[in-house]
């Protein structure tokens, strides 16, 4: 169950560490965001991210609550999803009262890109409106898992139906349909997020219209070769979340190559086992929300791509994930084949 948390400052009131002169894109498709902004006083304290339910939402409140106290200084971008499975039409797997909260955050607030995926099961009260933006009565929300984003592939799977596909390195697959209560703008944010995770943030270093006055991360932290040399604090002085933060940022990169070789072994074992099962029963029953293992690990390259950008922030940093979304959010013009990280 959730516990109350102290109110947090909105990202643009508390994190103005980089001075940015921002030119809002003029794509017609951006109008959703622009219109929403237009509804609010520009200099007011109302946070559109909160209004849309993608920031300081239930998932954020839970991970920042004293019960977990995880990534307390990092913004969480989140939404409410319905888990579905493929059939002629997308079919809900669970009862309507059960949804899934999906969010991304950073183990270290100054990282240019999020590196953590959060998943939580949400159980709504009977008859309750599942409005993610400040529901009158908080539903029951249980954190299910924390996944390093580098072990996850996120794809826009069905643009029309607003379905994301989430695939873990262990071949677990979820199809997640954005909750109908979320406005279209929210799905555009997810599209943009997938793009950003896949391609990186060009505005961090390349966009000449953005004036970045200083770098949040001292250059000395990064070796010329691009490998981070993290400054080690004495662990005794660290709070749990700090320790987690630093340790997570450390050493993750060494795991990928091993995982794929281990997985390959496991796949061989599984496929042998499946073969045995198949010959004995002549039918295989794939898991509801996962697909049969394939040997196609082309997306492995996608994991590798962007890793440096995510975890070795040597260049100028953006305001925050949502800051970048707000600055450059635009729906993709074509979504064929899906966009993935």
């Amino acid at each position: 169950m959730m516990t109350s948390v102290p109110p947090r400052k909105s990202w643009w009131t508390s994190k103005k560490t980089v001075k940015v002169i921002r030119s809002y894109p003029t794509f017609p498709s951006l109008n959703a965001w622009e219109k929403f902004r237009g509804l609010l006083p520009v200099d007011g304290e109302t946070n559109p991210g909160v209004g849309l339910g993608v920031e300081e939402g239930l998932l954020c409140q839970m991970v920042h609550s004293p019960e977990f106290n995880l990534f307390p200084n990092s913004v969480v971008f989140e939404s409410n999803f319905v888990q579905v499975r493929r059939s002629r039409n997308w079919k809900e797997i669970y009862k309507a009262s059960n949804t899934m909260a999906l969010g991304v955050t950073s183990s270290v607030p100054c990282l240019p890109l999020p590196n953590i995926l959060l998943m939580a099961r949400v159980k709504w009260h009977q008859g309750q409106s599942q409005t993610w933006n400040r529901p009158s009565r908080a539903p029951s929300i249980n954190l299910k898992s924390i996944l390093p984003l580098k072990f996850v592939e996120l794809q826009i799977w069905d643009d029309q139906e607003r379905v994301l596909r989430l695939r873990t390195v262990t071949e677990k697959i979820y199809y997640l349909k954005l909750h109908p209560d979320h406005p279209e703008t929210v799905f555009h944010f997810w599209i943009r997020l997938v793009q950003i995770l896949h391609k990186g943030l060009s505005i961090t270093t390349k966009d000449p219209t953005i004036l970045v006055t200083h770098c949040l991360v001292p250059k000395s932290l990064c070796s010329p070769g691009g490998k981070t040399e993290l400054v080690q604090k004495k662990s005794k002085g660290l709070q749990p979340s700090e320790s987690l933060t630093h340790l997570m940022a450390q050493g993750e990169s060494e795991t990928l190559s091993q995982i794929f070789s281990d997985l390959h072994q496991q796949k061989q074992y599984r496929s042998e086992k499946m073969h045995i099962n198949k010959t004995s029963s002549e039918k295989a029953t794939p898991c509801e929300d996962s697909i049969p293992c394939t040997c196609d690990l082309n997306w492995r390259d996608a994991f590798m791509f962007g890793e440096w950008e995510r975890e070795n922030p040597s260049g100028p940093q953006p305001l925050s994930l949502l800051g970048t979304l707000a600055a450059s959010s635009r729906p993709r013009l074509s979504l064929t084949g899906g966009n993935s990280i």
Partner: protein
């Protein structure tokens, strides 16, 4: 639901020893023979009653695969209890205990209560590690020891609850500073330190379950 304390547990050990199954059995009372490899952390929670106090166990099930080891280390801190699991049918998982223990000691509070678990006790015919070896290892390193079966649920409740009892005992003895978050203990909402941690006699009426059920 309100609780007097929240204890953070971490489950560690080699891949395939049954960590996720131990969690599932404890939280959902069911066994799933085929389980996906855990990456990152999977969470579970359950209330238990110790000495009339409601205690919430927040359980962090970690990845055991060597490939994720560096990430797993980042989850130790702030744990009040650890379940260190090996598979009694796989000697190598027992041999790796020292390495897991080193990690646990290095990255967590020195007061963390560690329960050594020899899992898969239902597979007696395939036993590769004697019960006495587990007991000796636990004695040598100051751990509590139990053999369990996540499949039959034998001793699973006991493993979690005995760990909670030990943590609770340490709280009462003043060994745990409940205000220090790094100890993995949180006082529940609306609980004051005076009402929840009064001086108690050493002989506690620790309820919920009795001593080892002896099913394994």
């Amino acid at each position: 639901m309100t609780y007097a304390y929240l204890f953070k547990y971490i489950i560690i050990g080699d891949t395939g020893v049954g960590k996720s199954c131990l969690l599932l059995q404890f939280t959902d009372k069911r066994f799933q023979p085929v389980h996906d490899l855990t990456i990152g952390v999977e969470f579970g929670a359950r209330m238990v009653n110790i000495d009339g106090k409601q205690i919430k166990l927040q359980i962090w099930d970690t990845a055991g695969q060597e490939s994720f080891r560096s990430i797993t280390r980042s989850y130790y801190r702030g744990a009040a209890g650890a379940l260190l699991v090996y598979d009694i049918t796989r000697r190598e998982t027992f041999n790796h205990l020292t390495s897991w223990l080193e990690d646990a000691r290095q990255h967590s509070s020195s007061n963390m209560v560690i329960m050594l678990i020899g899992n898969k006790s239902d597979l007696e015919s395939r036993r590769d590690v004697k019960r006495e070896e587990g007991e000796a290892f636990a004695r040598e390193h100051g751990l509590i020891f139990m053999e369990t079966s996540a499949k039959t649920a034998c001793n699973v409740e006991e493993a979690y609850i005995n760990t909670a009892k030990e943590i609770y005992r340490k709280i009462q003895q003043g060994l745990f500073d409940v205000h220090n978050e790094a100890n993995g203990i949180k006082i529940g909402p609306q609980q004051s330190i005076t009402s929840s941690v009064g001086p108690c006699s050493p002989q506690q009426n620790v309820s919920d379950i009795g001593p080892d059920s002896g099913c394994c």
